[in-house]
Amino acid sequence: MINRRTLMAAAAAGAATLTAMPAMAADAIKIGNTNPYSGPASAYGQIGRTVEAYFEMINAEGGVNGRQIEFISYDDAYSPPKTVEQVRRLVEQDEVDVLFGTLGTPTNTAIHKYVNAKKVPHLFVATGASKWNDPENFPWTSGWQPNYPTEGAIYAQWILANVENPKIAVLYQNDDYGKDYLHGLKSGLGGRVDEVLIAEAPYEVAQPTVDSEVLNLQASGANVFFIVATPKFAAQAIKKSAEIGWEAERFLNNVSISVGSVLQPAGLEASKGLISAGYLMEADDPQWKDDPALLAWREFMNKWYPDGDQTSSFTVFGYSSAWTMVETLKRAGDDLSRENIMKAASSLEDVAAPLLLPGITLNTSPTDSAPIEAMQLMRFNGESWERFGEVVHAESS
């Protein structure tokens, strides 16, 4: 193995001197990606598969500006060292033009410095942390979805404007994700934090239930209950807070708004009145049944990714973000140098991507690499999410 590898490597090194510059003139556009196709987080792998199917469809329709897309996606099993290896393979061996939609917060953190040092566009990463929007220090990286602090701040604004004498109690997952939300809520409350935020209860992912945390929070006398929890715990918190008859205004983070996997297990009656914020259409929400964008998505799913789960938000996410990538390449035109792709990615202005809620658009600039920073509040009516009020823009970070 050593010998064969060494020989291959020697040959490759020889070839490398000839093609030291990334092969921009080649016909195909090379897009690199990592996803957890195996391991504990492999459910997210659906996003990568959706993206792959989307690019296949684009290729069958003639590609982008007449050029085919070569999508190279490797498995990193959600393990940061593996991500480093796979991304170096993409950049140094496969010589991809851009990296797109690499998934996960710890995994992207591991390659953040590397890709910026190599000046490879690291576009529309699939994670909600706030650190991807830092164009001053990391000009080659950009996020896509609204980040968690933004969402927390949106709830804070609404609570201050609409709840009389608010007293907020927060249940949150004790990790980066939970703390990001809490941080956003606090910054949205501004100077009134100490007066308004009266109880916080962290929980660990290893816990079997969050029932006792919910009881303690109720005992604090709060009239607003903010649930920052992943699906399983969110369902428990919704159910418990309804059982004990806690008459608080309940907020649920966007991570857990799936009707099928959270609200149904919690009980649709118990879920009535919940407030959340969204930016993507829910595929199983009856109000989008005849929406042209959703119909196009369904057609795509049936034809190009028939094994995909049509009730999962991952396939919606993958479709809409892949569309963003293709749109960016179209805008870059014939000059697909890394600089020009980056320029196109950081000058999206009011771009309406499919499956985003009406009124929400993509916006970036050289000083803002967070494309989606608006959400719309919505209330659960016992059957589906009913949007209300204006689209809220919270260019917080």
Partner: protein, 343 residues
Amino acid sequence: MATSEENMTGGPAIPRAAAASAKKSGSSLGTIVLAVLVIGAVILPFASKNFFIFQMTQVMVYAIAILGLNLLTGINGQFSLGHGAFYAVGAYTAAILMEMQGVPYGWTIPIAGVLCFVAGFLFGLPALRLEGVYLALATFALAVATPQLLKLSPFEHWTGGVQGIVIIKPDAPFGLDAVLNPDQWLYFFTLVIGLFLYWLARNIVGSRTGRALMAIRDNPIAARSMGVNTAVYKATAFGISAMFTGVAGCLGAIVIQFVAPDSFTFALSVALLVGLVIGGVGWLPGALLGALFIVFIPNVAEDISKGLAGAFYGFFLIAVIYLAPQGAGGLIRSGLARVKRML
């Protein structure tokens, strides 16, 4: 690998007489093999891309960790499913010292080694009461607990919690950076430490301590009646093994430039065990072959089929176990024995 025959302690592969008579010709062959390997290892970074150099550095890092596990399992006969934990301790030692205390990376290696020796020794003491599968289970608990402990908020100040710690990649020192890029430098840095640790492991195995460790593995009662203090030796074996693995973790952190709890899940411990079995339990040079397997075979499996990568990996694993039931070490031994019979 000069006298690799001496270290082939894994099983009754060749009759003693044959081994003894073969030793002379075997050792000269071994010297040639070793020389070729070392020359190849020195030339390699000048003849390949940075990415391949990086992969080979990773191979050496895992080889050191597997070497440590081999001392425990192969030489002393104790099982561990928890070496990923010691690897994590080494990695975090490097990261915390470098990024928070500003310690030069070279110094983090002895510190990580000492720390892991102590941790391994202390873990080895209660583990004395456990044998075989029970010990495997106890170490399994260690591996499962590690990522969660690293996320705990009381330690977050040092460990960085879920975010982990990003490390700056070191440049080659002493003006060597004009000749070597950081990847090449780290390759040689790891190579030198790896060779030193291999030499150390060989000497431990060949020494009085090594014989005591093997005696405990083969027959603990007989060893005790011959005056071997089994408690001390078993705990020491755990300490030394953890030290090797901790140094590997330390090097791994410097090479990857990032540590996070998700890097040190149970899967890492299993990967090390796979490397150990593939390379050959009890045969020290096997660590390198085992490391090559765990770094490259998952990629090969993925190249064949993305959807069935796990299945192909499993297929390769079963194929190796079936064709070489005693790992690469056993295969090489039986191959050599066959050649010698023909001669």
